[in-house]
């Protein structure tokens, strides 16, 4: 039992190391992808994409574009929900996705 457990734990150690390596590589690939200037230009969705994604027509879709590290806080006071946005690196853009 001891020998089997030792063997399994060493296999799991190898598998975890491999996962760590793949996750690191994936994060790097994603960062390179999103920082590429061409991809930055082509990395957009259209308003109708948003409308299609939130199917019910009675939905209002508000879009928030914020600089990195903007803090969003959602609190639950007794009368309703409060959402606050605080940026330290630039203005925040908020707009409603227009109807079709």
């Amino acid at each position: 039992r001891h020998r089997d457990l030792q063997k399994e734990v060493s296999h799991l150690t190898e598998a975890e190391d491999k996962l760590d390596e793949l996750i690191t590589k994936c994060n790097l690939q994603l960062r390179l992808l999103t920082e590429d200037s061409q991809n930055k230009k082509l990395g957009y969705v259209k308003c109708q994409d948003l409308r299609k994604s939130f199917d019910s027509p009675d939905q209002l879709v508000m879009v928030i574009r914020a600089p990195p590290e903007t803090q969003m806080q959602v609190s639950e006071p007794s009368e309703g929900y409060q959402v606050s946005l605080k940026s330290t690196r630039g203005p925040i853009d908020v707009f409603l996705c227009p109807d079709d």
């Binding site: 001891h2 457990l5 598998a15 760590d20 793949l22 939130f54």
Partner: protein, 151 residues
Amino acid sequence: AQECQNLEVERQKRLERIKQKQSQLQELILQQIAFKNLVQRNRQSEQQTNRPPPPNSVIHLPFIIVNTSKKTVIDCSISNDKFEYLFNFDSMFEIHDDIEVLKRMGMACGLEVGKCSPEDLKTARGLVPKALEPYVTEMAQGPINNVYITG
């Protein structure tokens, strides 16, 4: 017996961590596929129309969306420099990030729900490095749940 017990604890901990890391890797693969698909789609449509879409009709990543019923009353205060916003909702709402929107647009080829057609699987495999292809194939059948033993 004591050593066996310690090894058993170690084994459980590693299995838990591997499970968590596999879902993290799965999410990263989905995001990579979704983003590449989005860029490809936009590139093709711009080539077809021979011009970029009007600036006020597109929303560049990164963004988040808040969707709520049109009946919801939203009270909004904005600081002059637009660095701070305060919203008060009088009804329920949902917040989603851009990746969630891309998934709903089908940009992740259905891998996020483990329903991927053979041609979508081919597309998805073509969008990731070789080392990740086995994971993509695995994801096409549902969430990854077996431990890839190296060697």
